[in-house]
Symmetry: C2
Subunit: 400 residues, 2 copies
């Protein structure tokens, strides 16, 4: 087993817990996704198909043992597991509240009953991100109660959320007590897309799920969905906008120690951050609301390293590295060290999504992302070890 | 005056020609943007306000002499001028057809009556991108007739287009004869956003125009609007999707010499191109339609250098540089030379948009983009001169 500094830690890996799967299965007669339909295979066996997006036969569900099997196959020592989208977004408030508490307990058990990395360490192989009942009509006290629950469950080290908040996006003032509680508890928020962009943007050509997955999800992280509605059409740009709207709301000025981890390396936010800063510069009303240049706030983020290419990772690292230079206009330094940015980047796989076309091969989503990390120009061996695992051990306070 | 190798050439600069402005002014009673409203200033003077987006008082119009004044103020030797959005998108086919021909003649005159760069050169200070009547119901022969017209006007070196095509996006088979004619004529297509993404994605907070301009426009370039409709709401992710959908349609396999210039450095496409390649890899139906890995096609593009930051430019350059390595899977080379990518990148300003807050200062959109070019790590002095002007002289065949 690897020494702690060499552990491979996957921080972007999802699970459908049995209680959640049962709920979805009970919705098979429902008009709207998400639900699970039980099909019969050509061999006469029952097979569950999860439908989370209209017309999409989704990935098969994964069990606890399949997660560990996947980890073993790819040399992943530790996984920080999160419930996959769409979480509790489609439920009425009281049901979402009850289920969040139950699923958090379930996830704690899922992790705590797992093995340890080795006999010589306290580090377990499974940790988790809990769930908040982020739905319209939920009370602030219910949200704070669940934040508190998560903070008391020893194997949960953060929480995953989509981009809608309680219906008005993540820049909603109503969420400020929630950010404050999360910041105080030291939990990591994993911001993950689900809705993408309006499906009409993808055109009439049959491109499978390539466009909504390749572009839609990252767009969603960048901005964010504003209005809650129950149609689960593919609405992908909203993820990247989520983070942008959070920045524009001044949330990082109010909660400077909030630890926000963005899926898919922040979507398009790094690539558009100087354009964003320039647009803000031309709009005094927005500029005066923020303490810093927009590029400064990218250095407050943590980003997964799920970009599938080394040039992408190197650029994201540059964008984090340069952020300190934008604390004030006067201090802008022209040459930022790419190493600095690597400290806030963390390996992930997006398992169980993107399965290989043949069951025996290694998953490309794993091998491509590992190869990308290994190939980044300007990252030292230590930087790469950090992205593969050591940064996660520090962020989630996983001690040996 | 600079020697030809040192000329500063602005390839992203817009104009509202008098005939176009008159049309918009005549629509002031219309329910829908775009139109021009004539206001009275506090001093009692008439002042034109162009409204191209709902509720948006747009930039003031620019005249021929103001364009040259702007160029002189910033040391810009040559501008390749294009009609600003929304072009002819809102007109019925016959009117769009007539007006395209007239506006192309007007633009030829706008350019040809301008000065030369110096007495010792044939290079003029103004060149232009023509307009096609890309609207529903237009005939292919009308489109081909206008492509032909543009190719015969000596100062027009390309054409600008939005992302809707004739109503079904740019991956519409109906456009194939048009791509073929454009390729044959050697014209440059400048792909520019207008519609952005659905306004609801920006949320309820008043962020001025920051989100639709900073994020919406680049998203639009990346993908593209699919359905033509007359509501001019802000729909920004469609620009980047435009280019992605073109790639997925195999247009670069069919028309390998098509010269496509993307606004705003391709929006989020460079940052999401490895993710796109990975998603295609997992979808055999899409993968089998394309001759190459998606990343190969980014090397077929030309990209403006309008990103406002040196790290962004360097990354875009990397993405172009690596493209040759993706011609076939076997030939992937791990270290691409950043210089190569610079050859397809071209300085631009987005004038007359993003005016300074005070009339006397230099425009930040110019100074920031020039400073970004000057600061890219790994670009030689020659690479930077290329991006500032020499690449444009070659692409548009502007000879001294």
């Amino acid at each position: 087993m690897s020494p702690a500094s060499k552990l491979l830690v996957d921080i972007h890996t999802h699970v459908y817990l049995p209680r959640y799967a049962a709920l979805l299965r009970s919705r098979a007669g429902a008009a709207a996704v998400p639900f699970i339909r039980t099909n019969t295979t050509p061999e006469g066996l029952a097979e569950d198909r999860l439908l989370i997006l209209d017309h999409e036969p989704s990935e098969s569900l994964t069990s606890w043992s399949e997660k560990l099997k996947f980890m073993d196959k790819h040399g992943i020592d530790v996984s920080v597991v999160s419930t996959a989208n769409p979480w509790l977004d489609f439920l009425p408030a009281s049901q979402a509240h009850t289920l969040a508490a139950e699923l958090n307990d379930d996830l704690e058990q899922y992790c705590s009953t797992g093995p340890s990395v080795s006999s010589s360490t306290q580090i377990k192989r499974l940790y988790g991100f809990g769930l908040l009942p982020l739905v319209p009509e939920i009370t602030t006290s219910a949200l704070l109660e669940i934040v508190n629950q998560i903070s008391t469950l020893p194997h949960l080290r953060g929480l995953i959320m989509g981009t809608r908040g309680i219906g008005n996006g993540l820049d909603d003032e109503a969420l400020e007590p929630v950010w404050a509680a999360i910041e105080k508890a030291g939990l990591v928020v994993f911001l993950h897309p689900h809705y993408g962009v309006d499906g009409s943007a993808w055109g009439d050509k049959d491109n499978g799920h390539v466009l909504p997955l390749a572009l839609g999800f990252p767009f969603e992280t960048t901005t964010v969905s504003s209005k809650y509605h129950f149609s689960f059409r593919i609405r992908p740009q909203r993820e990247m906008k989520a983070a942008t709207r959070l920045i524009l709301s001044g949330v990082f000025d109010k909660f400077p120690n909030l630890r926000l981890l963005l899926a898919h390396s922040g979507g398009a936010l790094p690539a558009l951050s100087s354009r964003l800063a320039s647009c803000i510069d031309h709009d005094p009303a927005v500029a005066s609301r923020l303490k810093h240049d927009a590029r400064y706030y990218l250095g407050k983020l943590y980003l997964d390293a799920v970009t599938y290419g080394p040039e992408e990772l190197g650029f994201v690292s540059d964008v984090i590295s340069r952020s300190a230079g934008y604390a004030s206009v006067a201090s802008v330094s022209k040459v930022a060290n790419r190493s600095t940015g690597s400290k806030r980047m963390l390996f992930g796989t997006d398992h169980p999504f993107f399965p290989p076309l043949s069951a025996t091969e290694k998953w490309k989503s794993v091998t491509e992302n590992l190869e990308a990390i290994a190939s980044v120009q300007g990252w030292s061996k230590g930087d790469k070890d950090g992205v593969r695992g050591r940064n996660a051990l520090a962020l989630f306070n996983l001690q040996g």
